[in-house]
């Protein structure tokens, strides 16, 4: 019987909450609200509270993120990316890069695509 469990490092597509959260946390620890604002800013995706904390719980279960010690406000607990989370994000970024390279090559715009997107 094939196992349905996702491979350990599999985070899903680039616009899926786990990738977005890890990308955001790669810049430093953040709490829930700061995460949603950052993700909205860099990806234009508005994660609802249910989706955000569902993904946070799954990432924490898999050891990709960890809660930081709470300061004065226990209700706004920040999270940080772990070593395993960095490895998983790196794998996801490589995969997206490969896909982007293939797409650019087939469109004939290889070499003109920078990290910031396609130049005008």
């Amino acid at each position: 019987m094939p196992r349905r469990t996702a491979p350990k490092g599999d985070l899903g597509r680039s616009n899926e909450p786990p990738v977005l959260i890890l990308t955001s946390l790669a810049a430093g620890p953040k709490h829930g609200y700061a995460l949603t604002k950052d993700i909205e800013e860099f990806a234009g995706v508005n994660l609802g509270p249910g989706t955000l904390y569902g993904a946070i719980a799954r990432l924490e279960e898999r050891g990709f993120i960890a809660p930081e010690p709470v300061g004065s406000d226990a209700r706004r607990r920040p999270y940080r990316i772990t070593g395993e989370g960095r490895v998983a994000l790196e794998a996801a970024v490589r995969e997206m890069r490969t896909l982007a390279d293939v797409g650019a090559s087939r469109l004939g715009i290889a070499g003109r695509v920078s990290a910031g997107g396609v130049p005008a």
Binding site: M1, G32, G54, E61
Partner: protein, 317 residues
């Protein structure tokens, strides 16, 4: 909106989830909707959906990241829930097909007889499996209750027992009444008896639903060893096999009757109900749909059970 108001929105989530993330999520809602007087309806619906999803995950009914034991338990409970639909479907079928053999011609009778008998045998075998599973869980349930767990499960159990008692009392009254009536009166000639029969059936189905809810509530909470969960998983697999056999046998019976005794299906079954003049009378259709739905639930549980049986106990692979 007050902090309590935000926390109230977390009620859809399971207790453990609320204990871990409830305050943080309430704080996020507070920060997001600080300037709004209310959380938008769309967001409330999303929260309810996510919360129910987390409940399903924590019960082992959805997702694959939980331990094999949690998935085994959840898969077995899905199969048990599917069986409850089967019992309802079986009761409808048994009542609908009452005396079918005396009203059908002998041609093709062996297929219908075989199908009908196998449905009956499957019902018996399935009930035995469920009973055996209850016996396996009983010692753990007694330990759970004696260690103070009664308060957590008392409500669904008391409701289920009350519904079963009401159902039994109504059934006794129905049987006593039926003995004083003739065949015509029992089969649509006396409308008030017909309505009482429907009432008794509804109470029976409600009792079955309450019983299943109570069984799930208990099975979610009692401590069961990995070996015990494996045994329950194997019973769940057998139960799904029985359910599949019953569906195939019902279809065989139905097809045979449609071919050799369409008049029985069109004119006898569903007597007194609208849309009865076809080989697919509403009562049989309802029974078939419930059976297929129950089987679908059972198969989804079976997939979880089979996918978790070979794995170890606690740790997620």
């Amino acid at each position: 909106m007050t902090v309590e108001g935000y926390e109230h929105l977390m009620r859809w989530y399971p207790t453990q989830w609320r204990e871990r993330y409830g305050d943080e999520m309430a704080a996020l809602l507070e920060d997001t909707y600080a300037t709004a007087s209310e959380v938008p309806l769309r967001q409330r619906v999303r929260l309810a959906w996510s919360g129910l999803g987390e409940r399903a995950r924590s019960a082992g009914l959805a997702g694959w990241s939980q331990s094999p034991d949690v998935r085994l338990r959840g898969g077995s409970l899905l199969v048990l829930s599917g069986w409850a639909f089967f019992v309802v479907a079986g009761a409808i079928f048994a009542k609908s097909a009452d005396h079918w053999s005396t009203q059908s011609p002998p041609s093709g009778h062996w297929v219908a007889t075989g199908g009908f008998n196998v449905v009956g045998a499957a019902a018996g075998a399935g009930s035995l499996i469920v009973l055996l599973a209850a016996v396996v869980v009983l010692p753990s349930f007694v330990r759970y209750v004696s260690s103070g767990g009664w308060r957590e499960v008392s409500r669904p159990i008391v409701v289920a027992l009350t519904a079963v008692l009401a159902s039994a009392v109504l059934f006794v009254v129905l049987v006593a009444w039926a003995h004083s009536l003739n065949g015509h009166q029992r089969n649509g000639g006396l409308p008030i008896y017909g309505w009482f029969f429907v009432l008794v059936s509804l109470v029976f189905f409600a009792a079955l639903a309450c019983g299943t809810v109570a069984a799930v509530a208990v099975a979610c909470r009692v401590e069961l060893s990995h070996r015990m969960l494996q045994a329950l998983g194997i019973m769940a697999i057998a139960l799904v096999g029985v359910m599949a056999l019953a569906v195939v046998s019902l279809v065989a019976w139905w097809a045979s009757e449609a071919l050799h005794a369409p008049g029985f299906l069109a004119q006898v079954i569903g007597n007194g109900m609208p849309f009865q003049s076809s080989v697919a009378p509403p009562t049989l259709l309802a029974s078939g749909i419930l059976m297929v739905f129950g089987l679908a639930l059972g198969v989804s549980g079976l997939v979880r059970v089979v996918g978790s049986l070979g794995a170890g106990g606690g740790a997620v692979a």
